[in-house]
């Protein structure tokens, strides 16, 4: 196997990741609790009961509708809402049976169900027409907590929903680009240090070419994700700008290479520029985003992702995806390198015939 490890390992891991991505279901979550404007009259009170419409995502409410509990929470206060009717697995009509005087306007919504376990919708209920007195406390209630009985699933994330599968495509592209640009960086240093032959120069050219491809793929997958979560194909954000500028810098490297005919000079000049380019990559993607506001996940410290957003199911797909894409990147780089060497050899043989 030997040199085939990159190809076989990469494709095996990516095949496994794609099976995971297309077969593992999403976990349940809560989408919204919206006011319908209707009200039902209560039996023991003269005030009408406002009716709300609860929408879930991937929940199983119709299997045990009588076990569904809807609880609202504000600080330590808990209160139960009435379930008027469970319409189907993901829709239910809820009566907001809260008193007129409340300790808070904004409430978290918690749903308890024997299959889904406990689901949380932060600040899901906002009551503007009540009397607010923060010193009030609501009477304590008893809650039956359920353990979720769910198959292996990806975690529910608000706004991201099913596109969380893009994590296995978008993030590894940048990791692979980092690795390839790192290879090019080391090759450039070696090229400057030895300067005798052009082997290291060929390496850095091949690595930058493949790294640029992964950079473009990272931009494209990121653009799709931005369209879904932020509503636009491109937004003005330090992380996105940094990524684009990095790709531009390395495109400049290719322009520089193409504008030079003298091979030893090209090797030296492009190696020098490549060192600048790698430093800029580090500054733009790892340093600057830490000091600026950003929409991109994991800002304010870590420009990648929050470790607590990853659960065991995501890890089982994400880590193999990272390693697999890096293997594929290295495989492509090695093919590119061999191709360049063969091309050079062929040109030399061809020329020597005349």
């Amino acid at each position: 196997m030997g040199h085939n490890i990159w190809k076989i390992g990469g494709f095996a891991l990516i095949a496994y990741v794609f099976v995971m991505v297309f077969t593992v279901p999403m976990g349940p979550g809560l989408l919204e609790l919206s006011n319908t404007g209707n009200a039902t009259t209560q039996v023991d009170s003269d005030r009408p009961l406002p009716e709300y419409f609860l929408t879930g995502f991937g929940t199983h409410w119709s299997s045990q509708p009588d076990q569904l509990q809807v609880i609202v929470r504000s600080k330590t206060n808990l209160s139960k809402l009435e379930v008027i009717e469970v319409i189907d697995d993901t829709h239910a009509r809820i009566g907001v049976s809260l008193p007129y005087s409340l300790p808070s306007k904004s409430w978290d919504v918690l749903i308890n169900h024997p299959i889904d376990g406990t689901l949380l919708l932060e600040n899901g209920l906002f009551l503007s027409d009540r009397f607010i007195d923060e010193s009030l406390t609501l009477p304590a209630i008893s809650i039956v907590e359920f353990e979720a009985k769910l198959p292996f699933h990806f975690p529910y994330q608000p706004r991201i929903l099913e596109t969380i599968r893009n994590l296995m495509l978008h993030v590894p592209m940048w990791f692979t680009m980092f690795v390839l640009m790192g290879i090019a960086f080391v090759a450039s240093i070696k090229q400057l240090a030895t300067a005798r032959n052009l082997a290291e120069d060929e390496k850095s050219e091949a690595a930058v070419k493949v790294g640029l491809l992964f950079g473009f793929l990272g931009l494209i997958t990121g653009s799709f994700w931005a369209r879904f979560t932020w509503g636009a194909w491109w937004v003005d954000d330090p992380q996105l700008n940094g990524a684009l500028v990095t790709v531009l810098v390395y495109s400049g490297y290719m322009v520089l290479r193409n504008s030079l005919d003298n091979a030893p000079l090209r090797a030296r000049l492009s190696a020098v520029y490549n060192l600048f380019a790698f430093i800029i990559l580090i500054i733009l993607l790892m340093v600057l985003p830490r000091f600026t506001e950003s929409l991109h996940p994991g800002k304010g410290g870590n420009p990648g992702f929050n470790s607590y957003d990853l659960d065991s199911a995501l890890r089982a797909a994400f880590y193999p995806a990272v390693i697999g894409w890096i293997f594929i990147g290295i495989w492509m780089y090695r093919i590119n390198l061999r191709f360049t060497r063969l091309q050079k050899l062929l040109t030399w043989t061809h020329c020597s015939q005349f």
Partner: protein
């Protein structure tokens, strides 16, 4: 002539560096049309901005235009090849100079030249575009930020200029290679300028100046280390 190898030249000496810097200035002031061209470009750029945005530009536009004018003036200043960059001149200088003296002299010259141009840009800008958003103290901090930016640009562009000339590319190649690399500097500078214009206290935005100083130090060090590889044949 000694063995003809570039690295056989004596190690970098301070006196040769000072001489080269003075030589660069002497050459610049001898052909006054080059210097006049740079100043004219800066003033024309400011006047164009004034025609486009008017004197009542809001703080964000003011800030953006100021940095763009500074950026283009800097690129204009480094776009001119030096007589010493001609191949036959270089193949002579290789034997009498250490390349590190040369790059240091170049960086110093560009830093001073860009500082001067920054002064002109700043004065012209406040004259034409107004300075309602800047009190006297804030104008001083804005000016300091511009000076720090011009030094950071000089330390990078001295290197990029040589790179582009060695690759037989003109102004186009300097722009293609230099503009993406200069973007971090411009990002930090615009953020600093916006903070100053918005009245953020200096202590809260001084870290941007520190970033700029770090970047110029980093670019300068990279240039100092790598320049001999560019210069040799």
């Amino acid at each position: 002539m000694n063995s003809g190898r570039a690295h056989k030249v004596t190690p970098p000496s301070w006196s040769r560096y000072v001489h080269l810097t003075r030589h660069a200035f002497r050459m610049e002031f001898r052909k006054k049309n080059g210097l006049a061209g740079l100043i004219l470009f800066a003033i024309c750029a400011v006047y164009t901005c004034y025609q486009v945005a008017g004197s009542r530009a809001d703080a964000e536009t003011w800030n953006a235009l100021a940095w763009v004018v500074l950026l283009f003036s800097a690129f204009n200043a480094v776009s001119k090849p030096w007589p010493e960059d001609a191949p036959e001149m270089r193949s002579y200088l290789i034997h009498v100079l250490h390349p590190r003296e040369w790059i240091l002299a170049r960086m110093t010259f560009f830093a001073m030249l860009l500082s001067g141009i920054t002064c002109i840009v700043f004065v012209a800008f406040t004259l034409f575009m107004g300075s309602e958003d800047l009190s006297t103290g804030r104008a001083l901090w804005f000016f300091c930020g511009m000076q720090a930016t011009s030094i950071a640009m000089a330390s990078l562009l001295a290197m990029i200029q040589t790179l582009a000339i060695r690759a037989n590319g003109g102004f186009g190649l300097i722009a293609v290679l230099g503009l993406p690399l200069i973007i971090p500097v411009i990002l930090i500078a615009t953020q600093y300028g916006m903070d100053v214009l918005n009245g953020v206290s200096f202590a809260d935005t001084a870290h941007n100046l520190l970033f700029l100083a770090t970047l110029s130090g980093g670019f300068g060090a990279l240039g100092y280390i790598l320049f001999p590889y560019l210069w040799r044949d």
